[in-house]
Amino acid sequence: MNAVTSFLHKTEADPSSMPSYEKILELLPRPVIFVGSDGIVLYANPSTEVLLGTVIGRDVHELFPGFMSGLISMPGALSSVLVSWNEVAFEAAFAALGNGRFLIDLRPSLQASITSMPSDMDDLTGLAKRNALLSHLSCALSVKAPSSFVAIHCLDLDRFKMVNDMLGHAVGDLLLQKVANRLTSACRKGDIVARLGGDEFVVLQNDVNDEAAAETLASRIVDLVGRTYVINGHTINIGASVGVALSSAGIQARDLLRNGDLALYEAKRAGRGRYRTFESGMDALLLNRREMEIDLRRALALKQFKLHYQPFLDVTTNKVDGFEALLRWEHPKKGNIPPLSFIPLAEENGLIVKIGEWVIRAACMEALSWPEDMVVAVNVSPLQFKSDTLLETVAAALERSGLPAHRLEIEITEGALLDDTEKVVQTLNALRNLGVKISMDDFGTGYSSLSYLQKFPFNKIKIDRSFVAGHSTDSEAILRSIASLGRSLGMAITAEGVETAEQLARIRGERCTHVQGYLTGRPMSTHQIPDFLRQNDLQTEKL
């Protein structure tokens, strides 16, 4: 026997009491095969030769044509059916021997026939299903060489549901078949493509040298799956989001798959049609986000939201014109959570619509107690414009509170005008017809397209704080230009974020009509407002 089999050959001290292990293998009535990392059989016991002919030196794929895409599949714990080249079915169990070498233990199968394979296979695409994938993955992890990785690519099709809804399931199914086909064509022999159901696919990439190699395949998948399809004369465009995870020492199949899913979640969050690679911390991040989402869902009912109010002043009279309502979340355990930490999440899951409705109602009620004609400004998220209920909410809030419409100012950002501008302008017009004021918030930070100013006659433009704080002559010039542009269009101009007397003097000189910032008043709770107004009146009189 050759050097490789000698590792199996351990001679006992007393040969009379115990046959050698090699002898045992020779006597074993079922086949045992030892395979090298290149897939070539290095040892086979005599039973193997009886059932399969000469096997030493042959490729394991040749012996078992169904041997899944080359890999050393399936972990020792699970047995699976292998059919030999001469069509004998075996129940096979595998054991990894390190460095990519492995042992196959074969038991002639009684009930297993060639047709019993498809239970592991997806009928529609012929790809592996979840269980088969997990088997492949566990095995790949146990037999991989220490220097290489196994990578998992979890993918979801973007806009697949739309195809199903619009063109029917028959076309949807054909599309899934084409996707399966493209994925397979992107992979190498030895990689495994699986469909977990619906439009969820997973690619198992074997023998990955480094992260870059996994990312190459991921970007290839995004490119390939995202290319146009033609099916039954329909042109179909979908995209793929991919989450990539690389094996780490000792990682289990399920954990690696979960990492891939987490990365997929990040890919989708980052805007779909792209891949993201798993990084440690993504799980903690997701956990945090989920906790926060749960808290956020009940914050409204538990009355944890409060409104604070920041005054804005008329620069010519120094009198308070009104207050901007600012949302605060007073979390019972975590304390005050800044809006930047929860608003994006609320926008992502749509909660912002309900929260926004509460803000409008609460702001109208509270403003009613303020001195006559003082305005309350409320921020409205782009999502609220899309929800179709904004107009109704505003009208109801005004009616219920009894606040005159001209004392409510709705602040929108450019974001609201980006999509479906026409419909948004329609809603804005309807709001203005109620008598509500409309202002453009954070002007200068986004596209700052002048066409927005033309599409709708805003009552006011609020210039972003960055131009007020900026010391360069450029930001000064921009501030001045926006102000004079707005005024010539008949709009009021608020400079935001004014913190120093020097800044205030500057914006006075630059045709701004209003000022808002720490200098003229910090955000305050509703019960602080009367005191603040009294103080301010005194100061104004002194001036």
Binding site: D223, L224, T228, Y229, V230, I231, N232, G233, T235
Partner: protein, 145 residues
């Protein structure tokens, strides 16, 4: 009666390495393979190429045209595929399937002259139909890109 012949028109960015030998070898490969497949699939049309892009008209039964396009989509030698048209047609504009170099590069024009003549490439066929002539112009524009 509805026409059973369809025309599919696309153009794409050429990803083949720009060194001359690789480019020429790939062009030969594409010609050999496509000729075989397209004859079998009753597909006629024209594949225009230059260093910048591929532009192709495929005419034939819908199912084989779709299958050919799917094979094309899986090819790594190009990307940014823009599908310009997919329509039923009354009759074919091309009598056979052929490929030819189109562009202003003199070197390439000479180098690939054989391919055009041996495959029966006839640039004048591209001027009859609006989309086909548009494709021709597009290909020339994309040569340098």
């Amino acid at each position: 009666m509805a026409s059973s012949i369809y025309s599919l028109v696309y153009y794409s960015r050429n990803y083949i390495a720009s060194d001359e030998t690789t480019f020429a070898a790939n062009v030969d490969q594409i010609l050999a393979k496509s000729r075989l497949n397209n004859q079998r699939d009753e597909i006629t049309g024209a594949l225009l190429f230059n260093a910048g892009c591929f532009a192709q008209v495929l005419e034939g039964p819908l199912d084989t045209v779709e299958a050919a396009f799917e094979r094309i989509q899986q090819d790594e030698r190009h990307g940014d595929v823009s599908l310009l048209a997919l329509n039923p047609i009354e009759h074919r504009s091309f009598p056979n399937w052929a490929m030819g170099f189109i562009g202003t590069s003199k070197i390439h024009a000479e180098r690939f002259a054989d391919i055009g003549s041996s495959s029966g490439f006839d640039p004048s066929r591209l001027t009859g139909d609006e989309i086909n002539s548009l494709l021709r112009e597009l290909a020339i524009e994309e040569e340098a890109a």
